[in-house]
């Protein structure tokens, strides 16, 4: 199951990120060299950003890469640590599942009002539904981790800074 999520979400987010890069490259290139930019490149970037962020979200959860304040770890006894981890995974799961529900509702509102992007008139609702579904997937991953709370322990170090 985890393997499947990693493959599907990985391909999705990688393709979207590569597309943003290529789109910017050709948009600027076209504007400079051919004096003609790609119509709607801005809003395509926006839609692709949604895919990049939310398709990668389950991967972050899977590897336990969210920024955590872990300086107190050494002061807690092993047993207590496990319970504490399980509790926190449950909170994460609840937040993400709740967010999934909220974005699904919002997607419904967007469908109702028929809101589109400005230039290409692409409906925004499907992207909201996608956001919602991927939040829920991430939530389910945390739910799974409630039962093996130390699985992601040493897994990842975010390479942001």
């Amino acid at each position: 199951m985890n393997k499947l999520i990693e493959t599907v979400c990985g391909l999705l987010t990688a393709a979207a990120l590569f597309a943003i890069m290529a789109l910017t490259f050709f948009d600027v290139g076209g504007r400079k060299l051919l004096s003609n930019s790609i119509t709607g490149s801005l809003e395509l970037t926006e839609l692709l950003m949604v895919v990049v962020i939310f398709a990668a979200l389950p991967l972050v959860s899977l590897r336990g890469e969210h920024v955590v304040f872990d300086s107190l770890d050494h002061y807690l006894p092993q047993g207590l640590r496990k319970i504490q981890r399980a509790m926190m995974q449950a909170v994460c799961a609840a937040v993400l599942l709740g967010l999934g529900w909220l974005m699904w509702q919002t997607g419904g509102q967007y469908l109702e009002t028929g809101e589109t992007t400005a230039q290409l008139k692409i409906l925004k609702a499907p992207f909201m539904y996608g956001m919602a579904a991927l939040c829920a997937v991430a939530g389910l991953i945390h739910l799974g981790l409630v039962f093996r709370p130390t699985a992601t322990e040493e897994a990842g170090e975010g390479a942001t800074l």
């Binding site: 004096s35 709607g40 809101e115 589109t116 400005a118």
Partner: protein, 316 residues
């Protein structure tokens, strides 16, 4: 005492924030302090989210641009066509007179109580390269445009446009990424491009316009007492429209003065230029009439004609 939570996505010194505050002050004065505004230090959301923020009660009162939520508002696009009027106040007042008479305008605003509609001043064309005196020259440069009808107008005029947010204008023009932008006069000052632009083209009545709505959360309005409702109603519609309109006109005038001081070459579009734009944009008005009638407004052509006539009457 009733406190309205008021939000503005523009800085407190911007003409729209000031007009909103003016309305708040008048409300407080008229109700002898029984109603007052709590103006938040910063906007509850970025500009495009404001409509929903008021609808959902995040803020009680705010204003927004209809074009920021593409696909939701059709009727109000009437106030974004070329050659409507030379200043904001008469257009805004006429807009309210027509819109409050035809219930379709309000039915597009489910969930919010419309206090007033308004528009900015006449839309102009600014660039850093050369004078623009005819339609062909419009096609020869790269332009930044915002959302809404201006987008369609630039398309039928064969302009090479890119849709970018207004605050990006400085970066786009200073770097030479774009040659020009479509703005009302005021925005050259508030987006700090007044020292960058070399040429401006003015159109009698404006090349385009932008439709705004000033609104209150419906639930908040419904909960007001009868007296309070009356106090709000008394300064809704035309009264509020005049505040926003006058505010725009004042900063438009200041910006025109600034342009003269900065030696911007100002071209007035001649009869031929205007006629050409009219021919090319006429199908947009026909399309609007057709779409509006399909959506439920009977005789949209008559409403549009009435709107133009009312502006003319207000301008006198």
């Amino acid at each position: 005492q009733t406190v309205l939570t008021v939000s503005s996505w523009l800085p407190p010194t911007h003409s729209l924030s000031m007009a909103q505050k003016e309305w708040c002050d008048l409300l407080e004065k008229n109700t002898v302090g029984k109603m007052k505004c709590n103006i938040l230090p910063r906007g509850v959301t970025a500009a495009p989210g404001t409509m929903d923020a008021v609808k959902n009660g995040l803020a009680d009162v705010s204003y927004t641009v209809h074009g920021y939520t593409p696909g939701r508002f059709l009727y109000t696009q009437m106030s974004e066509f070329p050659f409507l009027g030379n200043t904001s106040e008469p257009i805004s007042v006429a807009f309210n007179k027509v819109a409050f008479k035809n219930p379709q305008f309000l039915s597009e605003h489910q969930g919010v109580k419309v206090i007033s509609f308004f528009t900015h001043g006449p839309g102009m064309v600014f660039n850093t390269k050369r004078p623009v005196t005819n339609v062909d020259e419009l096609g020869g440069l790269k332009w930044r445009v915002g959302g809404g009808m201006v987008n369609e107008i630039s398309k039928v005029l064969n302009m090479n446009v890119t849709l970018k947010p207004a605050p990006d204008s400085y970066e786009l023009l200073s770097g030479g990424v774009m040659d020009g932008t479509l703005f009302p006069a005021e925005s050259t000052e508030s987006f700090k491009i007044d020292k960058l632009i070399k040429h401006a083209t003015m159109f009698p009545g404006g090349l385009y316009n932008t439709s705004f709505v000033f609104m209150m959360n419906q639930g908040k309005y419904d909960k007001l007492s009868a007296d309070e409702k009356k106090a709000v109603d008394a300064i809704s519609g035309e009264v509020a429209a005049r505040m926003f309109g006058r505010g725009w006109d004042k900063v438009d005038r200041r910006a025109m003065g600034l342009m003269q001081a900065n030696n911007v070459q100002i071209v007035k579009a001649d009869a031929k230029f205007v006629a050409d734009v009219k021919t090319k944009t006429a199908p947009l008005e026909q399309k609007w009439v057709k779409d509006a009638e399909a959506k439920g407004m009977k005789d949209a052509a008559k409403v549009l004609a009435e709107f133009r006539a009312e502006i003319a009457r207000q301008e006198k």
